[in-house]
Symmetry: C2
Subunit: 332 residues, 2 copies
């Protein structure tokens, strides 16, 4: 029920995902079942469904409540236990599903995921990992909006989560971790970042040091490739939204200056489009919770479902729990 | 003497500026006079000087010491009173020049400008204002690197400085001030930003509220055009370097995908090139101190000198002092 183009884009995205992935996968659509049924039937009757066995691989789960974008997350999840958010996540806690995807309120999804799925031991907060396209491979930036004021210890937790995400879901070996700052020297940065730099040096990770804003589009700095970038959610959210908006601005400038048509530009800059990535995992929870952009198209939803499947298939959450346990053991 | 391509780019930039501006303007080149003389003579003898009365409008001022990029700013300005930085700024304090431009160490320039020119009453720190190109007019972002950890009161000071800069140098009427945050609602942001939001509402400025990363490339948000964006220097420096690096990344992607040649792309994206803006004023000091990019080309130096002239001609610093005095009067 969440997202600017729900439920149409969500249902269409689910069908598109089913058409793309193996027949062993199925989707539960959680929300107001009469609304969802209507959308689903219309799409299945149409030409665009793309999947022939849609009815067999889709289950509709009733959840009468809808959390609105303006509601305070903690209050909303308490007062609306029958929201699609809470009902959908409980399916996973009960073992009836493997992953959860939503384009609804990010704050509510974080709060509900933390309450229903719970965090791995030793964590104080979950973090959102967003993929930033670069001239090389995409890099994972976390936290990109879950936590505004973070301690140095929390930044180190994010680094541990990001490394396992990069290894499992992104398939990177010994991922390089950069700490976002304003100079490569250890003494550059604000107070929290300077402290985090020292902690990260002793964290047993492939810490490549501070990275700067200019290193992000390159996906690398002088000291090597960057797979994971660590920052607090205030900085992460600002740069994420900036990054998303620059592609369209530049397309506009080029369209005007060079007369290149919009479609060619969009195709050439496809890797900058968040619809390609579809969703950002909420890392740290025991399970899989993928946060999709509020403006998600059906293509974004499809890609978010694929991201969920990848996280499940690679055992991301279990790996994370194990690695956090090892880190806790090493430091005690 | 400062900057990656000094003294050649600096001297060439000074000559290019003289060719561009009225004959009433002259330039003092401050540094090791033998090195500067050699560069100057070579350029004036060559074809590229662009100005015929160069010798008459250029004065060389001896300053034997050079502050290196790695030096601690406060120590460097104390131990090297005869550096080009200190000598050049003292010319202004002594009334022998009107503005100062450097591509040397930003930290040293800030420290030296604060010590030599001093701050307007009521200020605790100077701030660097950088112009960000947008699909409309450029916006001034401050602070973009002078101050990493800022109080809410300091963010309000930056807003006052930015407004006068936008009015005088950029020629904006009743400039719109946005506070960079992660959502437009007053309660979104980190602790300092939430406090600054409340203070800005009562500051007597055209405060348009919080703006997000995505609003920057548009130069506007739902609530109107943005002229000035306020953030601490940690966030400001990260987004500045990110912004600078994205243009080249996208050019590279388009060059590959569309086969558009590099020169056409560079020309089309010229407004994203920091060499076009040349320099960022250090606001809050009593006088004019323009900070140029360390990688400044002669074109960047030329544009930085033009920026200094504009700041002098519009009486920017005096306006700032008056406005800060009025604000202090209104609140006491």
């Amino acid at each position: 029920m969440g997202g600017d183009f729900a439920p149409r884009a969500t249902v269409a995205g689910a069908l598109a995902a089913l058409a793309d992935v193996g027949a062993e996968h199925s989707v539960q659509l959680v929300g107001q079942s009469d609304v969802i049924s209507r959308e689903l039937e219309a799409l299945l009757d149409g030409e665009a469904a793309g999947v022939t066995d849609g009815r067999a691989r889709i289950e509709i789960i009733e959840a009468p409540d809808v959390i609105q974008m303006g509601e305070r997350p903690s209050a909303a999840i308490r007062s609306k236990p029958k929201s699609s958010m809470m009902v959908g996540l409980k399916l996973q806690a009960e073992g009836r599903s493997d992953g959860f995807v939503s384009a609804g309120s990010t704050g509510a999804q974080m709060a509900a995921s933390t309450v229903v799925l719970r965090l791995h031991p030793g964590l104080t907060r979950p973090a959102i990992a967003t993929l930033f396209p670069t001239s090389r491979a995409p890099i994972a930036v976390l936290d990109s909006g879950a936590n505004v004021d973070c301690s140095a210890e929390e930044l180190v937790q994010f680094a541990r989560l990001g490394v396992v995400y990069a290894e499992t879901v992104l398939g990177r070996q010994d991922p390089g971790v950069g700490l976002l700052s304003i100079g490569e020297e250890a003494e550059k940065g604000n107070a929290v970042v300077k402290e985090a730099h020292q902690l990260l040096r002793a964290a047993g990770l492939n810490f490549i040091g501070n990275v700067e804003g200019r290193d992000l589009p390159n996906g690398a700095c002088d000291r090597g490739a960057i797979d994971v970038v660590i920052c607090d959610g205030f900085v992460g959210n600002i740069i994420l939204k900036l990054y998303e908006a620059i592609g369209p601005m530049i397309s506009g400038m080029l369209g005007k200056a060079l007369g290149t048509d919009e479609d060619s530009l969009r195709e050439a800059l496809k890797s900058l489009d968040y619809n390609e990535y579809g969703g950002a995992p909420l890392l740290g929870v025991r399970g899989v919770s993928i946060i999709s952009h509020g403006k998600s198209s059906s293509r974004a939803i499809k890609n978010a479902i694929r991201a969920a499947i990848r996280a499940v298939d690679t055992g991301m959450s279990d790996h994370m729990g194990r690695r956090l346990g090892e880190a806790a053991g090493a430091s005690s």
